[in-house]
């Protein structure tokens, strides 16, 4: 997932969590606040009542006509005030919720009760406010608070998104540049237009490192060229000299066999140098992948080229190739060498009257080519090292240098071909190539 998406998701998620918490917590808080507010107002009213009683005397409420109690409530029974004379000596001073019956209707009130003494008598003052009214107020408050909060959350999510997009633009640019580069040698360093020092550092570091890789590649290329020249030139001189001696009528016949032996040894040296150079050159990306190679067709071509050798060894070579697959961006001659080496190995390490099958079929991702032989097999503990340089498993003629499978593996890697081996000692070996189209 991209960083920008992650940041946006995180910002949205955290804000939704805050919103949820508020939605859950808000009613309780607002109710509490509303109740406290109501209590405050009741206390204020109590104060005013005492003031009125002090100024006008209790007689203005309790007279002979009214008896020993006074009561008043407004039209919708939202509030009431009552004052009565009580006989008990209990002192009350509280604010509580309580149910009161007003005109045959039970209403839940918030009631402030307070006793006071005046003129040797004890009175109880009660001021009530209906809870429905209090809750109504609190609901209004909640509604507006929620709308406001939601608006704030939405606004911050969008500003976060926009800002992170702008902020991360240099990073997006770096990633895009890197995606376009298939190989370090194709990289061109570019400056980044940003004030974020982290991104500048990142870009400069990538530029510098790519530069170092390119330099190393170039140096390696020169080195390979020099090694190639310095090693192959003397080999070349020796080979032509030996060939001239071989052709010289003055060379005694007894010396001819020795010359042939020398040529063989020289050939071995040449082959090792050339194999190592081939592997290095492929790894140094000196080969082009600019051909379209028809894989089943190539497999048939290799089989035909090598059929003679199989027949000489009395080994039957079958091809079982179905479907069609063309590998774009490939190198025909390298792929030929790769398959040739594997089939050649299958011949070399086969049993008399053995067989080799080159199987090919399309797969979901591309194409699979398998070279199965009925040969001597490879012990399991050696399977992991067969592609390593100079690992010789069995060299019947003692002249194999063990670079054949290294070449195979290197060419497979170069083309992004997955290569696997299965083997049962005494029964045979299968080399499997999974071709898939490079993006």
């Amino acid at each position: 997932m991209r960083l920008q998406t992650k940041l946006a998701l995180f910002s949205a998620a955290s804000k939704i969590v805050i919103l949820l918490l508020l939605v859950l917590g808000l009613p309780t808080i607002v109710n509490k606040v509303a109740l406290l507010n109501a209590d405050l107002r009741l206390l204020q009213k109590e104060e005013r009542m005492y003031q009125i009683i002090e100024e006008q005397g209790i007689a203005s409420f309790i007279t002979g006509e009214t008896g020993d109690a006074y009561g008043s409530y407004n039209l919708f029974r939202e509030e009431f005030i009552s004052l009565e004379e009580i006989s008990s000596g209990k002192v009350v001073n509280s604010i509580e919720n309580s149910l009161r019956k007003v005109e045959n209707e039970v209403v839940n009130y918030r009631v402030l009760s307070s006793t006071f003494d005046l003129g040797g008598k004890r009175y109880l003052l009660e001021i009530g406010r209906s809870l429905a009214t209090i809750e109504h107020n609190s609901e209004q408050l909640q509604k507006y608070a929620l709308i406001f909060l939601a608006a704030v959350v939405l606004l911050t999510v969008f500003t976060d998104l926009a800002f992170s997009k702008i902020l991360l633009r240099p990073l997006t640019l770096i990633v895009k540049r890197l995606q376009r580069v298939e190989h370090p040698s194709a990289f061109t360093p570019k400056q980044l237009n940003t004030t974020t020092s982290d991104f500048l550092y990142l870009n400069n570091t990538i530029n510098a490192m790519m530069g170092q890789i390119q330099e190393a590649f170039q140096k390696e290329k020169e080195f390979i060229g020099n090694v190639s020249h310095e090693l192959l030139t003397p080999v070349s001189i020796l080979q032509t000299r030996l060939e001239n001696m071989l052709a010289d009528p003055a060379t005694p016949e007894s010396q001819l066999e020795k010359l042939v032996d020398n040529l063989r040894t020289l050939h071995r040296l040449k082959n090792i140098i050339q194999s190592l150079l081939l592997v290095s050159r492929i790894e140094n990306e000196q080969y082009l992948r600019n051909e379209v190679v028809d894989i089943p067709h190539l497999a048939r071509e290799v089989a035909e080229e090598i059929r003679d050798r199989a027949e000489v060894r009395d080994i039957s070579l079958h091809t079982d190739l179905t479907g069609d697959f063309k590998l774009l961006k490939a190198n025909q001659s390298l792929l030929f060498t790769m398959l040739f080496n594997v089939v050649n190995n299958a011949i070399k390490y086969n049993q008399p009257q053995g067989s080799i099958t080159v199987k090919g079929q399309p797969t979901a991702k591309g194409y699979e080519l398998a070279v199965c032989d009925t040969g001597v097999g490879i012990p399991e503990e050696q399977l992991s090292t067969i592609f390593s340089r100079f690992k010789r498993l069995h060299a019947p003629d003692g002249e194999s240098h063990g670079l054949g499978l290294t070449i195979v593996k290197t060419i497979a890697n170069f083309h992004g071909i997955e290569l696997s081996v299965q083997s049962v000692v005494g029964q045979g070996t299968t080399f499997r190539f999974q071709f898939k189209q490079a993006a």
């Binding site: 032509t240 042939v260 082959n271 050339q274 194999s275 001659s333």
Partner: protein, 224 residues
């Protein structure tokens, strides 16, 4: 046939020169680019064997110079650097062939003959020997008009032996010629023996093949 060998390694130039003189070519040697450039301008060469890795001169520049000449000599590039770009450049600039070092002298000679055949449009590609005829361009072998079916490898071996008639060819030289395009782990001379055996069997149905000699412990020779 007048040949210029452009090669900074005296050892190799000597061997090349010796071999080609034996084959009745007239050889000149230039050990550096300046010398080569002068020689090319003064003499009319038919063939130039050009080493690209010269100390004082860009080999490919020399190639351009030869291409500018009126008489258009054939050019084969010989190089031990063998980078892919060299090859593409060389052939793109009009070299007639490209042979990476180390090469067999026999292979060089075969390539030179092929180039000359192509370049000077030699008509006859048919060689006759002991009653057999080999047509190298049609890739056919016949005996008194009756065609003999050979495999690709058998034909290549016979052709190579004929090209270097009266000369001993080792199994290795034959192997390198017919399998030269693949780099293998090792080589097995047994394959050549089997091909020769089959070749003898096929040809002897028409006439004796005692001209195809086995030189014990060395190789094979086609005597004419």
């Amino acid at each position: 046939m007048h040949i210029l060998i452009v090669e900074d390694e005296a050892g190799l130039a000597n061997e090349l020169s010796y071999f080609l003189s034996q084959e009745h070519y007239k050889c000149d040697w230039a050990s550096n680019g300046r010398e080569a450039s002068e020689k090319i301008a003064v003499n009319l060469y038919d063939f130039i064997l050009l080493d690209l890795g010269l100390p004082d001169y860009e080999g490919l520049d020399l190639l351009k110079e030869t291409r500018a000449l009126d008489h258009d000599p054939a050019v084969i590039i010989l190089t031990a650097r063998g980078s892919l770009e060299d090859r593409i450049h060389g052939l793109g600039l009009g070299a007639d062939d490209y042979l990476p070092k180390p090469f067999s002298l026999l292979e060089l000679q075969a390539r030179m003959q092929a180039v000359l055949r192509r370049k000077f449009k030699l008509k006859s590609s048919v060689a006759a020997f002991h009653g057999f005829e080999l047509d190298s361009s049609a890739r056919r072998v016949s005996h008194q008009g009756r065609e003999i079916t050979l495999t690709k490898k058998e034909f290549d071996i016979l052709h190579y032996l004929l090209l270097h008639k009266n000369r001993i060819l080792t199994r290795l030289q034959l192997t390198e010629h017919i399998w030269g395009n693949v780099l293998e782990d090792d080589y097995d001379s047994n394959y050549i023996d089997v091909h020769i055996k089959n070749l003898r069997k096929k040809l002897s149905a028409y006439a004796p093949t005692d001209w195809l000699e086995t030189v014990r412990g060395v190789g094979y020779r086609l005597t004419v």
